[in-house]
């Protein structure tokens, strides 16, 4: 066990898996000689060489497309998209190509590509350095979508992603890169994809969330506890395929659910979560499933604090569910 930040955990997972599996090759903009904008790949170019840590041109469609080809022919590419906001030039390669191999080849082959991308707000990055694009990828059949919220999960989930036979969109909450610190198990341990984590147990209301808003949920839950409300917080960790049992099991117990994420509300992942909960736990519900989300606006520079869901808005939703 060692204590480290979330970005160090990412770095360690990359290094350890590269040691373990020579097929792993990293590629992306400024990841090699420069160590990556968030320094997630610092030192790996020196350690593994320019052939395994490839500095690419600024060309996201090229990066992802190339990663797909590498994967089809037996490598294990891990592509870094510098910010999730820059993934759209590669969107076609992801949605039209990457996601479809298992299905369209009737299981003959898959493309085991991991795409890492720093996601979400909290660094005053404005319109194009703050967005949360998870819903687009969840909507696309064939992609695993993962977002850790702790260093231990970051390391363990990334290790699993690199060992998975199918593509993984691995979204890293950049606001937590250096602010989330915690114990991380030593080499070799992986956290399985598809399993949620119960962050906190409670019997009155379930908050389902992931990534940077996990700590928002924890803060709201701690405040609510002072008023005698026991909030259960679930960190999905893998957004898709999701751990539906964990969510439904909790909602059957509490009868109330609040879904919480940074991404805009309309057609956000919260909409799917709300639909699933009402389909599978309708008769247990004592209140409508509430959504606490970002707004249906571009991500603002000056008004970022207001845009991001906080403990106050989460508590309001919890209170509304309780008094429904």
């Amino acid at each position: 066990m060692a204590t480290m930040t979330l970005v160090q955990a990412i770095h360690d997972a990359l290094g350890e898996e590269m040691e373990r599996d020579p097929r792993i090759v990293l590629l992306g903009e400024d990841i090699g000689k420069n160590g990556g904008v968030f320094r997630a790949t610092e030192g790996l170019w020196e350690r593994f060489g320019a052939e395994r840590v490839i500095d690419t041109p600024l060309a996201e469609a090229g990066i992802v497309g190339m990663a797909i080809g590498m994967a089809l022919d037996g490598l294990r590419p891990v592509a870094e998209i510098q910010f999730a906001d820059f993934i759209y030039p590669a969107f076609d390669q992801i949605v039209s190509e990457l996601a479809k191999f298992r299905y369209r080849s009737a299981g003959q082959f898959t493309a085991p590509v991991v795409i890492r991308a720093p996601s979400g707000g909290g660094i005053k990055g404005g319109h194009y350095h703050s967005q949360s694009p998870e819903a687009y990828f969840i909507h696309t059949a064939g992609l695993n979508v993962v977002m850790p919220s702790t260093p231990a999960d970051a390391k363990g989930l990334l290790a699993s992603a690199m060992r998975d036979p199918d593509p993984v969109i691995f979204l890293e909450p950049k606001a937590l890169y250096r602010t989330a610190k915690g114990e991380v198990p030593d080499a070799g341990s992986a956290v399985p994809l598809g399993k949620a984590r119960i962050v906190r147990k409670g019997s009155d209301v379930t908050v389902v969330t992931y990534g940077a808003t996990v700590r928002v949920a924890e803060e709201a839950a701690a405040q609510a506890e002072g008023e005698g409300t026991a909030v259960e917080v679930i960190d999905l960790r893998t957004l898709w395929p999701m751990d539906i049992e964990a969510v439904i099991g909790s909602v059957e117990k509490t009868g109330r659910a609040v879904v919480l994420h940074e991404a805009p509300r309309t057609c956000g992942f919260g909409a799917e979560l709300a639909a699933l909960i009402q389909e599978k736990a309708f008769l247990h519900l004592k209140a409508p499933v509430a959504r606490v989300t970002g707004f249906d606006t571009p991500f603002p520079y000056a008004l970022e604090k207001l845009y991001l869901p906080d403990a106050r808005r989460t508590r309001n939703a919890i209170a509304a569910a309780l008094s429904f």
């Binding site: 903009e29 400024d30 000689k33 420069n34 160590g35 904008v37 500095d55 690419t56 041109p57 600024l58 060309a59 996201e60 469609a61 090229g62 906001d85 820059f86 759209y88 030039p89 660094i123 005053k124 990055g125 404005g126 319109h127 194009y128 350095h129 509300r265 509430a290 959504r291 606490v292 707004f295 249906d296 606006t297 571009p298 603002p300 520079y301 000056a302 008004l303 207001l306 845009y307 106050r312 808005r313 309001n316 939703a317």
Partner: protein, 331 residues
Amino acid sequence: MTVTKAEALDWLRKMSLIRRFEERAEEAYGQGKIGGFLHLYIGEEAIAVGAMAALRPDDDVLTHYRDHGYVLARGIDPKRVMAELYGKATGLSKGKGGSMHMADAKHHLWGGYAIVGGHIPLATGMALANQYLDLPRIVACFFGEGATNIGTFYAGLNMAAVWKLPLVAIVENNRYGMGTAFERVSAVSAVYQKACVFNIPAVQIDGNDVLAVRDAVRDMAERSRAGGGPQLIEAMTYRFRGHSMGDPQRYRSKEEVEAAKARDPILLWRRSILENRLATEAELQAIADEADAEADAAVRFAEESPAPGPAELCRDVLIPEQESDVPEDLS
């Protein structure tokens, strides 16, 4: 020289203003008054100033995110630019955009763009509209050399060439895309050579020489305006600061940066003015003082301006009134 005294001093004044403005922005960033990303243009001022001197006020301009220089060179009030950096309600976009998206429709400045290369096809479209509407305007599209490796560069310039559109692409080659030297990631590292795939005229110029920039942009803009189709200019330059704030710059040596500073575009132009006896030292000092004062005034204005109110969050969108969980002060 083929410049008047008034022009020469105007260019020096504008370059000095950009420099001083950005130095003040850098300080404010250090004090936490400006957040997020701040890409400084220091060292590259001659390109924006030379180009704007060549363009007409109603020519359309699109730029990449390293955009403070263009905005100031275009004559937009530095106060409103600084206020945007501070995220204040008096900023060009009421603080909602920040450093990278400065836009002012009145000045035909359609914004800085942060998706690298994303604005190149937009420029093609504006050029097509100008041609379609029979307007005498051209479009000037600025971007870094890094953008010439992404597909939109090829899509945009090819279409402009097919339809002979009035577009001048000005590529600022400062040798590094963020932390990667261009020749490490580009099969062809002289950008002007890439123009051959579109079969359009292209030149490579000294981007630190404001007069060379003015002349090249003027020639190419007028050729394009006269029906000559798109043109490409590669302006060689160097950024003196990191890519953005907080860049440890491990990809280049201190010696390299210091050597490049010997060709500081402001120093070069100052020297040229004196050598050609266009002005006295005292006149040049007055210009520097004026730039200082203007930058100070911009900072003061930004500091004293109010932040945008919460209601601004959901303004300028399709559905202005949003959901029940908005903060109660967000009416």
